[in-house]
Amino acid sequence: MSIEFSQPALVRIRNWRWLGPWLQLSPAAIIYAIFFVAPVAILVTYSFYTFREYNFDSDLTFANYKYALTNEVFRTLFLRTIKIATIVSALVVLLAYPFAWILTFVLPKHRQILYFLVVLSLFGGYLVRIYAWRTMLGREGLINTTLVSIGLIDEPVRFLLNSQYAIVVVMVNFLLPLGVLPIYNAMQNVSPKLIDAARDLGSGPGHILRRIVIPLTMRGVVTAVAFSFIATAAEWVTPLLVGGTGDQMVGNEISYQFGTAINWPLGAALAITLIVAVIAFVGFIFGLLRLVIK
């Protein structure tokens, strides 16, 4: 016996069908709302307050944003942060791309174990790695003692640690796996037959790389750039532990405003400004990369 629905009932069911996908998304959406949207909303609200003598004045004002955008100190910190983040993401891509190429085309038989090693390195403790680099880059660290023992230098050099150089080295080391993974995944879309066909038609390695492989893996490159840039721009622990007194980034200033100065509204304004600046800059890089490839 079949169940027959009346016309109005069918219309009612059809009208509610659109709700299905949204209901399926709702658990993730709720978590996202609680742990991301709500904190950011609170941060945005605080950024319009002011802070006087350890009390918050909830009269809304743009003063913190004006200060963040026009103050020379913060402008210097933003530019330094963008510079370091750009260098780190460029180095990550330059090192991750050949590694992903080797994984895909040169050592395909060993790709699983190499891939596993890349993923495994992500489980290493972040602070442990920073302290390991501090030991290696220090005045009596591995690099200096090696250089002195082979006679390349007479005395240990100080610039290896407590410098922007050290910040870049540590960040590249930490972010390299995050660069390899998306580029490697994108390279799976490059069929070896395409490369063979290009060779048969007379293309050299450079031409194949430029006209076939890179365009097809651009999404992976863009993802690697985004991961590296965003992670570096928000950093404050690495500059604190391996940077010098003149190498602080915006994250350090945000931490200072929230901590020592207890000026949460100004700290919040700096954080929101950083988020907007990073989104804008990453969008600019994406557009530039796409233009270059075309």
């Binding site: 100190v73 501090r134 030991t135 100080r158 010098g244 007194t245 003149g246 901590g259 100065a261």
Partner: protein
Amino acid sequence: MRRLKSFASIAGALALTLSLAACSSNQDSGAAGETAPAEVAAQEMDTSVCKGLTLNFIGIAGEEGDKELASFRSDLEMKLQVSNNADWGQLIGAIKVGQEFDLSTLPNAEAQRMIATGVVQEIDTSKLTNWNDVVQGLRNSSIIRNADGKVFGVPIAWGDGPIVYSTKRVPTPPTSITELLTPAWKGRFTMFDDPALPFYMLAQSLGFTKVPLLTFDELNQVKAKAKTLVKNASAFQTSYQDATDRMVAGDVDLTIGGWEAMTAWAGKKEVELGYSFLKEGKGGGWFDSIAIPSTAKHPECALAYINEMISPKTQGVVATNLMSGATNAKAVPLISAEANIYDYKLVESETPGIEFVSFTPPNSVPDGYATMDDWRKAWAQVKVG
């Protein structure tokens, strides 16, 4: 559950027996290798208010009595939860937003600010049976009092403000902060990311005797010197332990923000550090008190805990562990020889022979003088060069 409770009671009784045996053996031999006289036994206060409670502490590591009062807590089946603040702003902010803490550090440099902003509550010292044994110079200090003379903190440690350096790489330590402005010291020292100490000492070196009150012109002159100092520094240390690690590793040779305890920590790693004083900071000292925050859930238990912290026996151990000065005069014979490095005459008289200055401007300053906010903005400019 019943088995668990039985086990807990047996374990507690065993712990109590062992700790009493240890205490009595310590008292027989003395923490400093001497017999403790009967009169230094702690006076009793009703501690039953603490039974089964958990106290929350926020402040400097080592000043919460975690090790020193372990047996006291186990006798009362108490727990202590410890939060260590990265800086004083973080501590004040945590209490201001309503986080519940029963005990907090009250440093002399921030005491008046913390009292004025209401983050700590008045302490009834008549309930503290060990209060009158606290050395006069600290007990009577106006720093821990409000304008009405009410007490808001109980001193538990004091000291001076040394520089700490590697004896291997610094044969003769500097005697003035101005020496650290020279190229010879480029990249060789660390300091805290805080304007208080460098601004204070640089102002002294420039002859500004009213510091921490500085006019805007004076602040600009201090700022100019501070730029050179910060450029010369290798890094900002995150803590005393971090500075010690950097000197032990050989990355830096000296720290401006030092503490005698660092020599003991480095000694454990078989590295020798020494301490000395810059003339701009000599004669100045610090003392930390323990206070009851305004958000305390168990103020009566906190009071009993504080009384125990200033008992002679506990003070002897605190001073030994922290290499700081004890605040209870009766504790001095109980301090280890290595840690007994302070001149107690400085704090025994009503007018202390050591100046417990605040390095930063007070909450309200006269017209024409820089506020703490001005100091922070100046420091931000110093750091970017």
